[in-house]
Subunit: 142 residues, 2 copies
DNA sequence: GTTGCTGCAAAGTGTTTGCACCCTG
DNA sequence: CAGGGTGCAAACACTTTGCAGCAAC
């Protein structure tokens, strides 16, 4: 059985004269099964379970590939490491990060988006992307 | 002449049994004269003009001091280095970053803030801080 | 069989830390 | 003159790169 995501990745690979390898499949499948917002290191540990000889460098290289093919998005919550989010079939949203337990709540508020567009226009600015991170304490940690 | 900011820093230093040094004054004054959103390295180059023997480590240590004393805020635009913003007498705002020329426009939209609070409450989340960065192309770069 | 991919180790980046000497209070 | 501060170099954490052998097409 071939997932849609696997198809997306292999299409991207084929179109760019790259190669489908065991390692790339392993990274993709671990990525899809992982909690969202994995770090390279977390993913490395996951993939190592099925692919013990894999190197961290391959994880980074494959994460770049996933990002380029549109399956992942790079995130940076300012904690010194990049995190990667499932992008395919996952619509835009922002993040609320609990500074106690690290939990991440995703949300989207159309009016916030709309007012951003308004502010941008007022400044003659064309938005290509944005990120809104809210830091605080979640209900479990109060 | 002693600026308000210098007073704030020296008060903080005194209250914590630390010491006022030539280097700390130099870093503060370069920080105040710098463009907002300086990186440690940029500040290092600036301070080096008047204090040629200063080390990068002192810049970092002093930037921590400025942050703790409430004169600076740490920022991270996800480009791999921290930036520091003038905080004293500078009210909350968000950033619009031109990905062509690097220009940063600051803005504030009360309704965006208000809707953030609303979303947070709906999720039982208490906000301690937030950051909204909008990336795009500014009017000069179109 | 060509060309891209992998694992490994080394190099890079931005930041932090240990230490002997120096200076402020 | 005690205790914190400094410059320097080494250590750090995360990420990227060079390379020789390997595997996909």
């Amino acid at each position: 059985m071939v997932s849609k995501e696997q198809q997306v990745l292999e299409d991207y690979i084929t179109q760019n004269n790259l190669k489908v390898t065991r390692q790339r499949r392993a990274v993709l499948s671990a990525f899809l099964e992982s909690e969202d917002h994995v770090s390279a290191d977390e993913l490395y540990k996951l993939v190592s379970e099925t692919e013990p000889k894999i190197g961290l460098a391959t994880i980074y290289r494959t994460l770049d590939l996933l990002t380029q093919s549109g399956l992942a998005t790079e995130l940076d919550f300012g904690d010194g490491q990049k995190r990667y989010e499932h992008k395919y079939m996952h619509s835009h949203h922002d993040h609320m990060i609990c500074t106690e337990c690290g939990k991440i709540i995703e949300f989207n508020h159309p009016l916030i988006e709309q007012f951003q567009e308004e502010v941008a226009q007022r400044n003659g600015f064309s938005i290509t992307s944005h990120k809104l991170d809210i830091f605080g304490i979640c209900s479990d940690c109060k």
